[in-house]
């Protein structure tokens, strides 16, 4: 899928139940801590995120949580897709491997299943499943711009 197709596909995700959004917002700071501990303790973490990128990974988890809370509160498919593409470009250009997103989303889902009510988990799962399924499309779309920018050089 290209960007426009991703936006069209994402447009069917919203709106989200506001009680679920409230639970997500109330619990997410604590869940970010669990997320960071779980991901940092993985033996393959350096393969997923590159060397010396732990603090950047933790920043990403905190930003991810804030962003998902706001996008579920006020759903906008274009904002969702363009922000995910920006994240893929910014982090992949700093050695994050595309497998990181699969690992990250799986870990979020495992944590959510334990921590959220069944109703909230069902709402959140819809969005996270969509992100998981579309990782290959996000990789391809971000590849286009990353390769365009490989030829950019600053003048001295």
């Amino acid at each position: 899928m290209n960007r426009n197709e991703l936006i069209e596909s994402a447009s069917m995700l919203g709106p989200f139940n506001q009680e679920a959004v409230l639970e997500y917002t109330e619990k997410i700071d604590r869940l970010v801590v669990i997320m960071n501990e779980t991901m940092a303790s993985r033996p393959d973490v350096n393969e997923l995120i590159g060397d010396n990128n732990l603090s950047m990974m933790k920043d990403n988890h905190a930003n991810h949580a804030r962003f998902i809370a706001s996008v579920m509160q006020n759903f906008n498919s274009e904002v969702l897709v363009d922000t995910i593409l920006w994240v893929f470009r910014a982090y992949r250009s700093r050695s994050f491997h595309s497998s990181y997103w699969a690992a990250q989303l799986n870990t979020w889902m495992t944590i959510f299943e334990k921590e959220f009510t069944r109703e909230t988990y069902g709402e959140v799962r819809r969005l996270y499943r969509w992100m998981q399924v579309n990782i290959p499309s996000f990789v391809i779309c971000s590849d286009e711009k990353l390769s365009e920018n490989k030829s950019m050089h600053l003048t001295d």
Partner: protein
């Protein structure tokens, strides 16, 4: 070279000056535009803004460091401060605006540009800068009694902070209209602002002049 080519060339030179950390080069470009308010607005909209967007893009692609990006932002603000004496208008209109960024928001160049446009139009401005705590903004507003409060945000995930800020301000200052804008809304989200009364959303930098001219207090 025609006017458009000159602008593109200046924008490239300004970007380069920011990336090299050369304040003097950046300032020499700015001085070419200091002759009139209209020229300064062109400088902001067509030189500074695209340069900073370009620098943000270079960070995104890992071609510059965070430090280089922060230096570029800081130099841009210094250059804008240097233009201040060319910005203030002698014709004052007895109106006052208070401007700041939403709590947790650290990007203040855009709202600083907006503050300067109000100054050009004879308004008194209180520029409160980045990451403005809502309670402090309200306390300051109760003291200064501005005709308008302008809020900016660059990051979409800060919209819930903005919404909370709007609700809190409107509780304490129900007669003070709000103006909202910023890069956070580049890909959408402005429809959220239509939920609130007495809140004007401006998408484009150019819209501010028209807003100021037509401004009517509540």
């Amino acid at each position: 070279m025609n006017e458009q080519d000159n602008l593109v060339s200046d924008q490239e030179k300004f970007t380069e000056a920011l990336l090299k950390g050369s304040y003097s080069k950046a300032l020499s470009i700015a001085h070419k535009y200091a002759l009139s308010h209209d020229m300064i607005k062109i400088f902001y909209e067509q030189v500074v803004k695209p340069s900073l967007y370009r620098i943000g893009e270079l960070w995104e692609y890992n071609q510059i460091t965070v430090a280089a990006e922060h230096l570029a932002t800081s130099l841009s603000e210094s250059v804008m401060n240097e233009l201040y004496e060319n910005i203030i208008s002698e014709d004052r209109v007895s109106k006052c605006v208070l401007l700041g960024c939403v709590e947790t928001e650290h990007h203040q160049v855009g709202i600083k540009m907006i503050a300067d446009i109000f100054e050009m139009n004879g308004w008194d401005t209180f520029f409160l800068g980045a990451n403005m705590p809502t309670s402090e903004l309200i306390k300051f507003s109760l003291e200064k009694k501005p005709d308008l409060i302008a809020l900016s945000l660059s990051v979409y995930s800060h919209i819930p902070y903005l919404e909370k800020m709007i609700i809190d301000i409107q509780q304490k200052l129900p007669c003070t209209p709000l103006l909202v804008g910023g890069q956070a809304f580049n890909n959408g989200g402005d429809e959220i602002m239509s939920k609130y009364q007495n809140v004007t959303f401006l998408r484009e930098f150019q819209e501010i002049e028209k807003f100021i001219i037509n401004f009517q207090p509540l």
